[in-house]
């Protein structure tokens, strides 16, 4: 994808599109850091990552290129201990640095886990700063679990109320609904991973749509008009398919997003933004077909903002992204509050049924990469805010360098444990044990880091061998996870080798660092709902089941109880 984007940048310079350097993704607090990590792992193209946290340990281990520590004097590198007041003050302390980092940004995505100190306290302020700097602010917020108690819930709600007013768009995801993302049997890390992925997925969809210029372009203005409903809930769906029937399949996949409720919710939408992206084989007929069947789901009076783009990296795939918004009161199940910034009293409606963006269980199935080394010694460059602009410039001129940087700064202790990371965030103390380096960092002044940073950026050779090997590990793992998508493998060249090696080597992967260009198509694949959700529920074998034929499998401890034990045991 990166190679593509380079092309697109060259060829579309004349178009009015948003340069990558003006999109920033901010991860705020521990939960935000985890989301950021997922985004970094997906090697998001065309956006810069910025981590903000009070806790220096979490911050040090974060993948983001830019990092700003909040409350250097106030919390002294510790967390806020769940106190939003403290988070707020810490944020105010670092306000100038954050403002400097946000200068000139067109779109700012703010990812935060509400309920804690840093997330709840600082998020409204970050949103305000970003707005003041003239950015379009989209907030992705997770709400705490019920079991975290009423106090945290209230903190989260308070913060959410403020964000409703301050942000352009607000998407909330309730942790309590996390169970719907994964099967009951799957581990907690997968549940958290799925939530992070979902958020990463939606951010990517928006970025892709806004950044990548298309044949029929849709831009930020279209996005804003699609979301221009007061106190609304975001409808979001995205699907990929290939093969003969890919147009209708992709649409079906997109509509299967829980946020769309099988397309039923689109019935009331006023404005729907549809973005198609396909390989060079995308035909007008397909587009017609797809839009025709989409018409059945949207009201005739709806304003359909249509965009299409050709991305050679898509190969035989066709992807469709639907974005719309519904007024919250028109929904029986109150959902993600996606709210355009409108001067409205912040009366937060109870968001019991929070946003669930695209959920693709199939790909959760694939994503099984959880075991990885936890304690890896790395030098993670702390980047001072002053560095930001220069780095941004550099990346614009040399997209390769930017990508390289993302990958390089990747190897850090949190990578391996990313899926569980959200969980770990709650136990930061434990986390700290896996990072022997961090205390040192606390003592060092920022200036020191800024001297290290450029060298790392520009001279990859400086990287410790260990680092690079781990970065390969990660990218290889990423690739492996998406291995099932064959068509794109063809495009991405050698990674099949990486995959095989990776499976054997696991931890001690010594394959040469895979170029970031290879990672990019993988990002595309992530969207891939080509393996529909029932995959995980397929019967263990196709044995006839007599009178229980066609029923939901009755699986206990990995055995389908509807099959005779007599036959099952004989086989094994």
């Amino acid at each position: 994808m990166i190679s593509y984007s380079r092309d697109s940048r060259d060829s579309h310079d004349s178009h009015d599109f948003i340069p990558a350097s003006s999109v920033k993704i901010i991860g705020l607090g521990g939960a935000g850091a985890n989301m950021l990590e997922r985004i970094a792992l997906d090697s998001m193209e065309g956006a810069e990552l910025l981590a903000l946290n009070t806790d220096i340990r979490t911050l040090a281990s974060c993948l983001a290129k830019d990092k700003i520590q909040l409350g250097v004097n106030l919390t002294k590198g510790l967390g806020t201990g769940g106190d939003p007041e403290l988070g707020q003050q810490a944020m105010l302390e670092a306000e100038n640095a954050v403002r400097a980092a946000l200068v000139g940004q067109r779109i700012v995505f703010l990812c935060a886990g509400l309920g804690g100190g840093t997330g709840s306290g600082a998020a409204p302020i970050v949103a305000r700063i970003a707005r003041e700097e003239g950015a379009f602010v989209v907030v992705f917020a997770t709400m705490p679990f019920f079991f975290e108690g009423r106090r945290r819930r209230e903190q989260a709600e308070t913060s959410l109320n403020q964000l409703t007013v301050l942000s352009n768009a607000l998407v909330t995801f309730d942790n309590n609904r996390m169970g719907e993302l994964v099967l009951a049997k799957q581990g907690i890390h997968e549940a958290f991973g799925a939530a992070d992925r979902m958020i990463s997925e939606s951010i990517k969809a928006v970025i892709r749509l806004v950044i990548r210029p298309g044949l029929i372009n849709v831009g930020l203005d279209d996005l804003m008009s699609a979301l221009r409903t007061t106190r609304s809930r975001c409808l979001f769906g995205s699907g990929i398919a290939d093969g003969k029937d890919r147009a209708s399949k992709a649409l079906r996949n997109a509509l299967s997003s829980p946020l769309l409720d099988q397309g039923a919710l689109l019935k009331e939408a006023q404005t729907v933004l549809v973005h198609l992206c396909g390989g060079e084989s995308l035909t007008l007929f397909e587009i017609e077909l797809l839009m025709g069947s989409l018409q059945k789901h949207v009201p005739e009076t709806a304003h359909v903002l249509f965009g299409a783009a050709i991305d050679p990296a898509m190969g035989e795939n066709l992807s469709i992204t639907l974005i719309s918004a519904l007024p919250e009161d028109s929904l029986s199940v109150g959902g993600s509050a996606l709210t355009n910034q409108i001067p409205e009293p912040p009366v937060k409606t109870e968001s019991e049924e929070p946003a669930i963006l695209v959920i693709e269980p199939a790909f959760q199935e694939i994503e099984r990469n959880t075991e990885a080394p936890i304690s890896i010694e790395t030098i993670i460059p702390e980047q001072p805010p002053e560095e930001v602009s220069s780095a941004a410039d550099g990346s614009e001129n040399h997209p390769d360098t930017l990508a390289e940087t993302i990958v390089r700064s990747g190897p850090n202790p949190e990578i391996g444990i990313q899926p569980t990371a959200l969980f770990q965030q709650r136990e930061q103390d434990e986390l700290s044990q896996s990072q022997p380096e961090t205390p040192k960092k606390e003592d060092r002044p920022f200036a020191e880091f800024s001297t290290i940073q450029p060298s790392l950026d520009n001279i990859p050779e400086l990287d410790l061998p260990e680092n690079s090997s781990h970065s390969t590990f990660i990218s290889g793992d990423q690739l492996k996870n998406r291995a099932p998508d064959k068509p794109l493998w063809g495009k991405s060249g050698p990674p099949s080798k990486v995959e095989s090696e990776d499976s054997e080597l696991s931890e001690k992967n010594i394959t040469p660092p895979s170029p970031p260009a290879r990672k990019a198509p993988a990002t595309q694949l992530k969207l891939d709902p080509k393996f529909p959700s029932p995959q995980s529920e397929l019967p263990f074998d196709n044995a006839p089941k007599g009178r229980f034929e066609g029923e939901n499998p009755n699986v206990f401890d990995g055995e389908d109880l509807d099959l005779p034990p007599f036959l099952r045991k004989k086989k094994s």
Partner: protein, 405 residues
């Protein structure tokens, strides 16, 4: 004590049969069965309703039969529910008394109970029962109410049964459409236990396993309190289905073969030769090797019992003093107690195979009605608990009241 005769109705919508039992609770708390209405169920799979219309027709039929037999107009029922979604969990709530408050007040107890009841279950689940198991005062067990005792902390152990709300709602809807009211919903094995286990057995520790047509429900009592309960979606239907799948016989024949010839014990002496079914004319119709037939049955039932065993708390089976009580239609399978003994290693109690299944005199002890009759017992207990003891005036009044007590 209930002071006057009261009529309760128990309804069990089982996988194989829908059963309504009308019972009369006498003032001396004896239960008299007035009538039973039973129909074969249709549209019920593994304890859950799969075909609403059919299930409703069956229920109406059973209702008519029960009203006929008992000569009572049935307005409301106690309903038993089951299904794989039902789960029983134990939870302990701890409450630390305020510093200036040395002994336990009723409000402290309410608080600790609320804490203990507050089990985290999936959002689509609803809580069906919260049953107090015991109180602990500063870590010491206290079976009776600890109100008034001196303590630093008071803890309560609760057993909470929860299940998917919508499925339970659908069962209620089915009953309402008949139309009858639902007095209360009871998790099936808990109802069955009211009937099948007496107080002493519960105190000594007893495991009740109700193997019905589509589900196997179990409830474990230790020290007089519920220690575990749950449901495994396997039952007699699965045995028949297994025979069908392995031998290729049609369901009706497989069912017949299972009942007449099947044996679940692993006794090799019983697995010699062929099991034969004869048709009306007396000719041999079906021939199956006994070794295969018995093995199919045994493996299925053994697996089911082992699943139950696995789901009991660790070390619980060793604490079962009274034994394992089997009930439900499938427990009538030949050789089943031997198999159960192999799995649990405890005394096995099995209901008598009632000699005449079509008897007009429904027996108390008939395992097929255990759940529905248990519901009546449950209703009676509920009634007793809810009846407030008469106040001073009431007692005085009753001294002079010539009729009854």
């Amino acid at each position: 004590m209930a002071r006057r005769t009261k009529i309760h109705v128990g309804l069990e919508i089982g996988t194989s049969k829908t059963c309504i039992v009308v019972g009369e609770v006498k003032p001396d708390s004896a239960v008299k069965i007035l009538g039973i209405g039973v129909t074969k169920s249709a549209g019920v799979r593994k304890g859950g309703i799969s075909d609403f219309v059919q299930a409703r027709a069956c229920l109406k039929d059973a209702l008519a039969k029960a009203e006929d037999a008992s000569d009572v107009e049935i307005g409301s029922v106690y309903l038993s529910v089951t299904g794989a979604h039902m789960q029983g969990v134990n939870n302990r709530g701890t409450f630390r008394l305020p510093d200036n408050q040395p002994n336990i007040l009723p409000e402290h107890l309410t608080e600790v109970c609320n804490i203990a009841r507050d089990v985290h279950y999936p959002q689509d689940h609803v809580c069906l029962h919260t049953i107090i198991r015991k109180y602990l005062v500063d870590g010491l067990e206290q079976s009776a109410s600890p109100i008034g005792l001196f303590a630093k902390t008071v803890e309560a152990d609760f057993h909470v049964v929860h299940g998917i709300g919508n499925r339970i709602q659908n069962s209620i809807k089915l009953v309402r459409e008949c139309p009858m009211e639902v007095d209360d919903i009871v998790f099936a094995p808990i109802a069955t236990a009211q009937m099948a286990l007496d107080r002493e057995q519960r105190l000594r520790g007893a495991l009740l396993i109700d193997i019905g047509g589509g589900t196997t429900d179990y409830v474990l009592y230790l020290d007089g309190a519920i220690a575990a309960s749950g449901c495994i979606p396997v039952g007699g239907d699965h045995v028949t289905n297994d025979i069908h799948l392995v031998t290729g016989l049609p369901f009706s024949k497989a069912e017949k073969l299972k009942i007449l010839e099947g044996n679940a014990s692993s006794d090799p002496a019983l697995s010699v030769g062929y099991a034969k079914l004869t048709d009306e004319s007396g000719f041999a119709d079906v021939e199956v090797k006994r070794a295969i037939l018995n093995e199919v049955i045994r493996q299925r039932l053994e697996e089911t019992l082992k699943l139950v065993h696995e789901r009991l708390p660790k070390g619980a089976v060793e604490n079962i003093g009274a034994g394992v009580f089997l009930t439900g239609g499938t427990s009538l399978m030949n050789g089943f107690s031997e198999l159960a003994f192999d799995v649990f290693g405890r005394d096995i109690y099995r209901p008598e195979n009632s000699s005449n299944p079509d008897s007009d005199h429904p027996s108390y002890r008939d395992p097929r009605y255990a759940t529905a009759i248990g519901l009546i017992r449950y209703a009676q207990i509920l009634e007793t608990e809810n009846t407030k003891p008469p106040g001073c005036l009431g007692k005085l009044f009753r001294l002079f009241w010539p009729f009854g007590r």
